[in-house]
């Protein structure tokens, strides 16, 4: 039987008894054909591949990342604890050196879930990768991580969660927000004052093909990673850039995804979106799995791969070249840009409207980040949903100084105004308080 070059841990949890609704893209059937393909290939017998079952994430794992309104238990279903727990299990296997790499091939996805959670957005309720990463940092000690989001939709949830964290580099490449949900992910979204430049977006034009994706990888992602030197690389491995995906307009392929995975060489990959469940997912998941395990994937192709012209146009190629140059240049001069953006400001405020498309909720949010010379700064969110619920959410960051801690605690105890709920996320002591 075939032997894996890299020992691979696979948490495969298709949640065959869970759906958002019977006709929803996020339904029981989504990974059915992936399972058939993987098992017919005999992956269970690959030497060096270990199948792992999910553990259950705990409430505190969710609270470390999110402010669920009103609380964790009233928002989550069992499927969310399992999906996050499955990702945690896969990462633990890497950290415990049971395996070299891990693939959490599970659902539901998470990368649209932001810090505040009134409901589901973009099929996501909690951010699987963030819950996983923060739990592992708590369990194994702090480390620097890079999250590379290769889903076709902008990873706006992950961006929001790590917006002001200088130890977590977030890079998302996706179909341009002017043409696709969630409508964000532009080059100018560059991070908060405590982590300016550590949030990189590469909005790609529709019809981008293998060539374009691999160009971005080679000319932006890999050089940035070489500069940042993360301890761990995580891939949010959404698969909806595929040419058959019903929700997007890209021309990516199973071969392309496998090449990208091989080159990116992540420690942990977590499935995100991807809804071409019959024509794409079985082949892409197999391609990614083989690439992670270091097994020849050259024979993994879709049924119509050779019949179609999947090359991108010259215009797209030129556009991507220019865009890549711009993004990498901004990365190189991020300190200068930070100076220009934040100099003299004591605090930095953003006002945003966040739409929960899956649940039809609109949130008005004001986020204030305290500019602090000693730490990445206290973060205060003042938010209200169109259902009339108002909350105050305070985050004392992991690296908080004494002063920021005190201000945070005071704000939680004596909120400035009336709120239905107020929350304190104390990352220094890993505690969560709600009133």
């Amino acid at each position: 039987m075939i032997k894996a070059k890299n020992k691979l841990g696979l948490v495969f949890f298709p949640a065959f008894d869970w759906a958002i609704s019977p006709d929803h893209p996020e339904r029981e059937e989504r990974l059915l054909y992936t399972k058939d393909q993987l098992f017919e290939e005999g992956i269970e017998d690959i030497e060096g591949l270990t199948l792992l079952n999910p553990v259950l994430a705990e409430t505190r794992d969710i609270q470390r990342v999110h402010f669920c309104v009103p609380d964790v238990s009233s928002r989550l279903t069992e499927s969310h604890y399992i999906a996050a727990g499955g990702a945690i299990r896969s990462f633990q296997a890497v950290m415990n050196k049971e395996v070299d790499k891990a693939f959490a091939l599970l659902r539901p996805p998470g990368h649209h879930a932001q810090r505040v959670v009134y409901g589901s957005r973009g099929f996501c309720l909690i951010n699987i990768e963030a819950v996983m990463l923060e739990r592992i940092r708590q369990e194994f000690g702090h480390f620097r991580a890079a999250i590379i989001d290769t889903d076709c939709h902008h990873g706006d949830g992950t961006q929001d969660i790590y917006w002001n964290d200088p130890d977590t580099l977030f890079i998302s490449f996706h179909q341009d927000g002017r043409t696709l949900y969630p409508g964000t992910g532009f080059v100018e979204e560059f991070g908060g004052p405590g982590a300016y430049g550590y949030n990189l977006n590469i909005p790609l034009p529709p019809e981008t093909g293998e060539e374009g994706f691999l160009y971005v990888l080679e000319h932006v992602v890999m050089p940035v990673l070489a500069d940042f030197k993360p301890d761990i690389v995580i891939n949010s491995a959404g698969q909806d850039n595929h040419y058959t995906d019903p929700l997007t307009r890209m021309k990516f392929t199973a071969q392309g995804y496998a090449k990208l995975t091989e080159r990116l060489n992540p420690d942990v990959a977590v499935l995100e979106g991807g809804y071409s469940i019959e024509g794409a997912l079985p082949y892409m998941n197999l391609g990614i799995l083989l690439a992670l395990a270091g097994i020849d994937y050259s024979n993994v192709v879709e049924p119509d791969y050779y019949d179609l012209d999947l090359r991108q146009s010259d215009d797209v190629t030129d556009y991507i070249k220019e865009l890549s140059e711009l993004v990498y240049h901004r990365w190189e001069i991020k300190e200068y840009l930070k100076e220009k953006e934040f100099k003299g400001l004591e605090e930095f405020t953003r006002a945003r409207r966040i739409y929960y498309d899956t649940d039809g909720i609109l949130e008005q949010q004001r986020e204030t980040i305290h500019h602090c010379s000693k730490c990445s700064g206290l973060v205060v969110i003042d938010s209200k949903s169109d259902q009339g619920i108002g909350i105050l959410a305070v985050t004392i960051p992991r690296d908080a100084c004494k002063k920021c801690m005190q201000i945070g605690e005071r704000l939680f105890r004596h909120p400035p105004g009336h709120y239905h709920h107020h929350y304190l996320q104390d990352r220094v002591n890993d505690r969560f308080y709600a009133k």
Partner: protein, 556 residues
Amino acid sequence: MLIGLDMGGTHVDGVLIDKGQVLKTIKNPTRWDNLFYSIWTTLQELAEGVDLKDIERINLSTTISTNAIAENKVEAVGMIIQSGPGLPKEFLACGDENLFVSGYVDHRGKTVKGINKAEILAGIENFKEKSIKNCAVVTKFSPRNAAHELKIKEMIEGNFATVTLGHRLSGKLNFPRRVFTSYLNAAVSSIFRSFVQNLLAALAKAGITAPVYILKADGGTMSIDMALEQSVDTILSGPAASLMGLTALLPIEGDGVLLDIGGTTTDFFFLADGVPLFEPLGITISNYKTLVRSIYSHSIGLGGDSRLQIEKGELKIGPLRAGKPMALGGTEATPTDAMIALGQLTMGEEAKSVQGMRDLGKKLGLSSQQMATAVLEKMGEIIKEEIFLLLAKINSKPVYTIRELLYGKKVVPKELGLIGGPAKSLAPILGKKLNMPCYYPKYFPVANAVGAALAKITTEVTLLADTELGSLRIAETAYSEQINKGYTLEKAVEQAKELLAEKARSLGEKGKVEVEIVEAESFNMVRGFSSGGKNIRVKAQIKPGLSCSLRGEEDD
């Protein structure tokens, strides 16, 4: 009357059972130069003095196929493999010639690309030139749609003595295992056929008309006709026969552990609700991973003849074998000596065993009696730890639904059964360590033959219905029919039950068929923005069981 016969590596064991009562047992040495003779003489001895008309059936566990594979005395096989997209194909090569052909069927059973006849005809010319008489045809996803395997068979039929088709051997999805299983089947089928012909001729000559059934590794039986088509299913049936015998001698209804502690090894088996656990996919033989359904068993190097060593002030037992006990003239003290020294076993010269224990005990500052006790305690400890380790693995098998993950069946043994020389000595120790009742039968010279005699027909059926394509298929038989949009999971379960019962009767089952539904899933298929149909999957099986319970002897 039932005859059970198990041909093992050293002995051929036979038993004659009537109405749950063991009437006769026979143990003969296996003659390696003439396996058929070994079986035939044992059969004759069992049938002696019996009215031949009273013999209802003969159940036979043979090592014919197992030995042929283990000793690589198999026939040449030409493989025709259609591998489609996916893993590299080179590692699938097995047998003597491999013809990889184009075309493929996808995961839903849709034909993406047809077969290329010229390619196949040229390939089999090569097989014929090399005088290959056995051929196996295996295509990816053939349990979903066997059309390509059937078409290729039609093209090549008449050119080979045997043609094995992958989908006939298992409804499970695992292409590499299907390739290897098909290869082994083709490799042993002629050898097994000539054995059967000899046997049937001898039976006819002797006037025995009772039907013959062949034991499988899953603890069940199949008819001779089935065994001729699926000879690979006869491999490694010995341990299954032993386990079935154990369940007859020590009826356990809930979850339990069964141990066969021999001279060299200890074999572990597990029961869930009284039924033996299976290997998840199939048995492994001579480095070939197969889809041959088999009882789960695990073996460690620990037994009455194990080597005892003191390392860094600690007692180690096994995994190597020391040889016969000192009481019987051996040179090293063994666990068997420990039992003799404690007076739990009467065998050979007790004084030598005591001396052996005394010498060993000196290194630890223990008396001979204390040392002997420590040896048995340590054996119990090793077994206990192994049971925990195996249970952890068994209970963490992958699951794919929230229901199974949160509320799925876990195997939690409540009873322990033992056979083998050290069983009596270890039973009280293990009972205490595992805190569960521990049984061993008083008398068990031919448990394996008893298991063979009482085994029943087992079989399975995998039904796949796709209401969008309007098709229903049975994976193992290539049976297909058209269905309408209104076809439901309930109908599928009913139909699977009927088809399974039909299959069991065609295999020779005359009694009541107890069907178990192993899997029953229905998926809503959505295409575009509307519901396109249902993807229904049902797996039904007949579990291994005993045709009747044993009467008589009460056991501890």
